[in-house]
Symmetry: C2
Subunit: 337 residues, 2 copies
Amino acid sequence: MLDDRKLAVLRAIVEDFVSTNEPVGSKTLVDRHNLDVSPATIRNDMAVLEEQGFIVQPHTSAGRIPTEQGYRLFVDRLSGIKPLSLAERRAIETFLTGAYDLDDVVMRTVRLLAQLTRQVAVVQYPSLIRSAVRHVELVSLTDRRLLLVLITDTGRVEQRTAELPAPMAEDEIAQLRALLNACLDGRKLADIASIIAELPERVSPAERPNAAAVFSVIMETLIVRHEERVVVSGAANLTPADFSRGLREVLEALEEQVVLMRLLGESGDRDAVTVRIGSENAVQELQGTSLVAAAYGTGDLALARLGVLGPTRMDYPTAMGAVRAVARYVGQILAES
Amino acid sequence: MLDDRKLAVLRAIVEDFVSTNEPVGSKTLVDRHNLDVSPATIRNDMAVLEEQGFIVQPHTSAGRIPTEQGYRLFVDRLSGIKPLSLAERRAIETFLTGAYDLDDVVMRTVRLLAQLTRQVAVVQYPSLIRSAVRHVELVSLTDRRLLLVLITDTGRVEQRTAELPAPMAEDEIAQLRALLNACLDGRKLADIASIIAELPERVSPAERPNAAAVFSVIMETLIVRHEERVVVSGAANLTPADFSRGLREVLEALEEQVVLMRLLGESGDRDAVTVRIGSENAVQELQGTSLVAAAYGTGDLALARLGVLGPTRMDYPTAMGAVRAVARYVGQILAES
DNA sequence: CCCTGGCACTCTCCAGCACTGAGTGCCAAG
DNA sequence: CTTGGCACTCAGTGCTGGAGAGTGCCAGGG
């Protein structure tokens, strides 16, 4: 049904349209790519491609532009992932090396990705759930208020204050701290819920209310908030023309952590680059945009995801290359620290 | 030179233009506000106001719009700060109460401010320099790598990793931790530099290289990074039409922490609401925007600044009201925690 | 059976044009 | 100082006609 030339034509249309942002006609096509057939032939091919739903004409006397289905075919069968240039790989290395801490790694990553692809970059914080507790610290702020700091072996630091039902003396705090560290140190966060459930028994009844408050804060920290952080950069790369409903909707969506989480979706396999085109997108508000994403992590654990958001009219091969490379490199960096 | 009526005319022009975003003519003006003179009279007044540089006409046959100088006069002499409605004050209260921790307070604040003013909100993290060390924690990540966590009495937690020149045993770490806490606990961050300068003498020569690495990381944390964080929200409120150079420039600037810091500028007095109009703005990239900002803090210490960024064509009285109210309320929240 | 050149057709884009209406500046009179 | 009247300016709008790009279709050739 679709012979090689027709596929080549589709590929050419996608490539041209992505780079020029103008509907591409039969004549331009034969000129620019050296298809050695006449424009009329191409027109016939295009008619078929249009019939099958891969391309459309915005209006009668214009060239064709790819449909979502067209991009889909292009990504699946017509293009590979474009490897980064040496210069780009260098850039990644110098940019990510020498980050201070986890926050810094994430911030640099997101900026880097935005710069490499000239699109909006989105990076999810590494999930806590796979990592282990390195240390728990309790610091009293007032006598009814405690600061809880939880340090994981991925270098992430979570903090929360806890309101206490009753005043708590320093030595009680010290005791509780010792208990927590004894029981939690080195344990996977995923297992902690069950461990904590048994802890109240090991506290004297008098101190139980305060301890319980602390325990529940720990649980909340791990369960409720742990995966909610997503960082965005490169909003300036959004070009108004590309978004029919206007930038506004997109910018609004980008400020909603929850929306971004849904956008990035489930951590898939490591190294697999996922492409969501236009309406394939899970997020209502961001239909009309495409997402190129991948999971990253240390070893073969997928910790979280990162990706690039842009108009459907996006340079997929390059974006995929950048996303894959950055995901790998961030994984390395995290493994080292 | 400018009698009362002329000032009233200017005020009316500013108000109308802000609400309609259309040049306002003499006839509309007499209709809408009940100035009991004829349009012709107003025209004469407008001619004077234009001559003095407070208003201009975009083109010959259009109404007038305020110049920056016009807004300036309006803000300085013609309008007060508009107090918030009861509902708005309620909203502030319910929105900010129940924040988990400092991060959460800042995040909620910036969103709240963006929502109240329908502009871009900018909030600087409370400066560390006025607060005191509550606790220092060292956690070994690998034998050549240490995680340093610094907790302040404002509830802020700073973290950094330190690379060690030599491996460090657990007991050495414990010793160093004890030393640090003994010397730093309760001290103002501003004083810490001088305290740390003297610490190396109190460490045995063998351990000095590692200790020195830790000390220098502490210094860096305090000096280099301490005020660099600014959070932004409400970018979606930017309307393309209002910015001649396009949104792009503005969005870019908003992603640059350094630029935002320069924008917010020095902490002024508490409660004083500062207004920077158009080119008065310190930041090149954000000329053409206006900033309404105020310092916030606990007691009468100004800890940092927050504000609202918008087109020069902005509802200053309302923005000033919101900024002032939010600044005060955040101050209270911080004082309580 | 597929490719090709030719041709008529469609439709967007743009420049030119006249017209309308909002708004002005100026002037002479109250 | 204020007012009504009047002539003037100019952005915006809608219409028209031509240019150009691109198409679909058809008949002829390999």
